[in-house]
Amino acid sequence: MVGIILFIIALFLLFAGYSVAYTFAGVSLIVGFITMGPELFSFMPYRIMSIMENTTLMAIPMFVFMGIVLQKSGLAERMLESSAKLFGGISGGVAISTIVVGALLAASTGVVGASVVAMGVISLPVMLKNNYHQPTATGVICASGTLGQIIPPSIILIILGDVMGISVGDLFQAAVLPGALLIVCYALYILALGKFKPGYCPPLKIDEDKGALIKQALIDVVPPLILIVAVLGSIFGGIATPTESSSLGAIGAIILSSFYSGFSIKQIKQSSLETVKVSSMIFAVLIGATAFSMVFSYSGSDYLVEDFMLGLPGEKWTFIFLAMFAILILGFFIDFIEIAFLVVPILAPIAIALNIDMVWFAILIAMNLQTSFLSPPFGFSLFYLKGVAPKSIKTTTIYKGVIPFIIIQVIVLTLVIFFPEYLIIY
């Protein structure tokens, strides 16, 4: 019971806005100290050491670094500009190119905020100038920006793989089909919109020579595509572990960005400092979560939750529904990192006890988190777009715009829940 009270106190304290990592660590220490004494925490160094030795998690800084280097090289801007010109001529063309570039950015950088900001700065003005339906224009950007959560190599899949004790390579592979299905459904929706509501996404007037446009688009898209194929291919082919291939990807990103914007030590220095901040933030949450989980499990609360969940009727379906619902709601308020480190470790043993396929369960969690990134009123993607959109775009416009995409998400999620044999392949 102590653990559950602790969880609730910590969750409430989070809203004061102090660092999540230290809020959880600090509250756990106070509650653990009062109820069980300080000796409980003598194992902290051992637990920290096992994080320090964890070579799976080593892939996180390197993939983050790869993403930041590519982002600083202006990759997103180049791809968006050239593909918007290439596809702009058809109804819904700019929206489709936003989806395609969003998917490519997801696979190469995976930085949700950065993709949304880049697309909001470049694609949104183009769409608005051409009298796109405002909600559709903003919705497509928010939705495409969240693809980085599910399309490998995504940080959330690495964390889930580690927390749930499954192979990160398997998870990456299993995420490919659901991710692709999402992209296809987004694009189909825009195409249908172009057909039935042509006024929502009118074609652009393109005066430039078609051949030159195709050539420019190839120059901008093919090199990053090769990098993505090399990184993911080496993992899926069983040639390299995700950690090994993340180093290949990071070195490849340096080469690619030198090719586009020149080699610069200063840029590498900035990228590595950013990487230090992002990785330290993630591992601080992990250490905070460790303190929390020590108190939680030593007080026997994990069994309490497990007994409760296993005692529910409807076997695994009730559990899956409850778990998904809880994650969706928590995802509105707290970041995926906290959910992955704090909530998933409580759910994972129950899923194992219920004989649930862990890879499938992990993909469901990732897709669910992606949906909560997109959901009003607190979805991160919406805030990022609001931050860079022109003042004339109201928050309610963005809320309205993401609704069709949330419906698509829910449909794809439902398909993955009921037809894993076709959609989860690893």
Partner: protein, 183 residues
């Protein structure tokens, strides 16, 4: 505020070292991958060095990130707080939440590192790195660094409290900062 200034410089310096460790780790892993696949040559020592660099990078990076305000917060309400309230959240959080757990990690981490030193513990694998106490002592040492970073944060927040006129209570700009990295 001479102390605060020197502290900030020290923390930035350590942050730059973390950045360097990050790049070294990347080169280390890349080198190991190339050696293994192209030359079929595996060095246990080099592979262990990978996570030594990784661990030192993020453990010391935690303090640097505190100073840079890079730790994730739930900012639904925080963003709308006045500078004074924000400063109090940070001061109280640093002293009541962050400091105790950090001191505890220093206390137990010291014993943990000292134990490895006394037993002259090394890697269990042949060809692995000796002197395991060095990487173990990163745990207490980086926590001492975190204490310094917390001190810098608290001093900075006190400056904000002192410099903010009492009557100012207007909330700051609403929306979340788009510049924040979200991975």
């Amino acid at each position: 505020m001479q102390v605060k200034h020197s502290l900030s410089k020290l923390i930035d310096y350590v942050g730059a070292i973390c950045g360097l460790l990050m790049v070294l780790m990347l080169l280390n892993v890349f080198y190991d991958v190339i050696m293994r696949y192209l030359f079929d040559d595996v060095s246990i020592g080099m592979q262990e060095l990978e996570w030594h660099l990784f661990a030192a990078m993020f453990m010391f990076g935690i303090g640097y990130t505190l100073k840079e305000d890079g730790h994730v917060r739930v900012d639904v309400f925080y963003d709308n707080f006045s500078p004074t309230v924000k400063a109090w959240v940070n001061i109280l959080g640093s002293v009541l939440l962050a400091l105790p757990i950090t001191l505890l990690i220093i206390y137990y981490g010291y014993g943990y590192a000292f134990e490895a030193y006394e037993m002259n513990e090394g890697s269990a694998d042949p060809g692995g790195l000796p002197h395991r106490w060095i990487i173990r002592s990163v745990i207490p040492l980086s926590s001492v660094f975190v204490v310094l970073c917390l001190l810098q944060v608290v001093l900075t927040q006190i400056t904000i409290l002192r410099d903010t006129p009492k009557d100012q209570s207007s909330p700051q700009s609403r929306s979340k900062s788009p510049a924040k990295e979200e991975v």
